[in-house]
């Protein structure tokens, strides 16, 4: 009995050595993780929803409200997120991570947003965050806390700290961006961007046109999604099949894409005519229904964010 277990242990060790020779360092682990993820995508594309032609998206994740964060000027919010994101690049010690964490919580309390909405934004980033954390756990030098038995990878205190810092940085980055888009409607964002960029008009950059085009494409997206759904249903009801051999499926794409494209062209032509008939003539002397104004709140917000910036840079 003992002999068997000894032999198994020896075999296991040999196998581990072989695997380690192949797997090498953790960069290979990373590689295998990503490869696994891609294979999963490939696998599910076969068995994934056949009729789920269009993935559900919630567009413009704006969540209406009257909180302090909602009433801030979009320019303030844009500037603040920019500062915070630069700031996160400087955060390298656990201390500044804690600072950012508390600030994040504070902003969340001020925003009055439901937590599910805010933290749901982290979902698409979870795998990259976990890969980052894993890689850092296994690679840093330091006091060894634990050794993974078969593979001989060691976990050190430094590795744990690095994993915490790097993954927290990514998470906070996503969260700050989420606060911006959850409390500001997209049109207000493009408005704010236009106002912030307007000094660049002197460099002959068509700021107004760019902002207008961004608003237009935002408006086009839900329209096109609806049209795509309609085209799909119309063609399916005419007997176009999305199943069968490979070439047949590829051929079935054409009656989906071409009508969508023609409909989109029609839409854009209608829009052009509508704008021309209302005498749209560019940004010169154009007034807007909502005027952006800065208040004391905005000054306070910028001040607070600058304070966080100074502290982070000081702490490292």
């Amino acid at each position: 009995m003992e002999e068997v277990s000894l032999r198994t242990a020896a075999k296991l060790r040999e196998f581990a050595k072989k695997v380690k020779g192949k797997v090498g360092d953790s960069s290979a682990v990373l590689f295998y993780l990503i490869f696994l993820k891609n294979s999963l995508i490939l696998f599910f594309s076969k068995y994934g929803s056949k009729m789920g032609f269009i993935r559900d998206i919630t567009l413009g994740q704006y969540h209406a409200g009257h909180s302090l964060l909602h009433v801030l000027d979009p320019r303030t919010k844009l500037l603040a997120s920019l500062i915070l994101m630069v700031c996160l690049l400087f955060a390298e010690r656990p201390g500044s991570i804690v600072l950012h964490g508390t600030f994040c919580l504070l902003v969340w309390r001020l925003s009055g947003l439901p937590g599910r909405l805010v933290f749901g934004n982290l979902k698409p980033f979870l795998w990259i965050v976990s890969v980052t954390a894993l890689v850092h756990i296994f690679t840093a030098e330091g006091r060894v806390l634990l050794i993974v038995p078969v593979f001989d990878w060691s976990i050190s205190d430094q590795g744990l700290a690095n994993a915490l810092v790097y993954s927290a940085r990514l998470l906070f980055l996503v969260l700050f961006a989420a606060f911006l888009t959850l409390t500001t409607p997209p049109t207000e964002l493009t408005d704010g961007l236009e106002k912030m960029m307007s000094p660049l008009k002197k460099l002959r950059l068509p700021v107004h046109e760019l902002a207008l085009m961004m608003t237009l494409s935002l408006r086009f997206i839900p329209i096109l999604i609806r049209e795509a759904e309609r085209v799909k249903n119309a063609q399916l009801s005419r007997g176009v099949s999305l199943e069968g051999p490979f070439l047949q499926r590829v051929r079935a794409l054409l009656p989906m894409i071409l009508p969508l494209f023609v409909l989109a062209m029609q839409r854009s032509e209608e829009l052009a005519v509508a704008m021309e008939s209302r005498a749209y003539s560019g940004g010169q002397g154009r007034t807007s229904y909502r005027e952006l104004t800065m208040t004391q709140n905005d000054a306070a917000a910028i001040g607070l964010v600058s304070l966080v910036f100074v502290f982070t840079v000081a702490m490292g």
Partner: protein
């Protein structure tokens, strides 16, 4: 039906078309085609079309718009959106879209600002599309490599990056390029019809 567009408002129409193509590219990320083993979305497909149909300048502009809207926080990239997306490993591919649209537009339109020649040789369209595709993969893999090495802070060899960032997705892209090559002349006709 003549090829002469309405001169005074053609520029205005191109602006609107550019925003339309930005939206199409965004929607393309969410239209998943049920073809086995190939994760196929229509995204690069619309990148190719924007360059081929709008020309280098407006094609690239439409892709820049797409990037700008996504970076502003509207979740129109494959994994969401927002300024934090710069840190995603796949950001290189997105950055390549304007460049690819420009190259494709340039190969098809040349220095001619009023449009591509009405009858384009299939070979020329194919060459343009393949050039665009290569550019997307080149920048995409470079972005991936850079991201893995410097953002996630882990050294990866270039061969690994090429494998996970390119080889796996190549079959789907080839299908897309084939379909796009076939569709460009058809869509060109639709576009000309609309603008006269």
């Amino acid at each position: 039906m003549s090829r002469e567009p309405i001169i005074n408002s053609v520029n205005f129409r191109l602006h609107i078309l550019a925003s339309l193509f930005a939206a199409l590219t965004a929607v393309g990320a969410f239209i998943r085609l049920p073809i086995p083993y190939v994760p196929l979305t229509l995204q690069t497909f619309f990148v190719i079309l924007s360059g081929a149909l709008l020309g280098p300048r407006f094609g690239a502009l439409s892709q820049i718009l797409y990037l700008a809207v996504g970076l502003l926080g509207v979740p129109i990239f494959a994994n969401g959106g927002g300024p934090g997306y710069v840190l995603q490993p796949s950001f290189g591919y997105l950055l390549a879209y304007p460049a690819a649209a420009y190259v494709i537009g340039f190969i098809l339109w040349g220095w001619n600002p009023s449009g591509a020649p009405p009858k384009l040789a299939t070979l020329r369209i194919l060459t343009a599309n393949l050039a665009g595709l290569c550019l997307i993969y080149l920048l995409g893999v470079m972005g991936l490599y850079f991201n893995l090495n410097f953002v996630m802070g882990k050294t990866t060899t270039l061969a690994h990056a090429v494998w996970i960032g390119c080889i796996v997705f190549l079959p789907g892209s080839v299908v897309k390029v084939a379909v796009a090559t076939f569709l460009v002349p058809k869509m060109q006709r639709v576009l000309v019809m609309r603008s006269t």
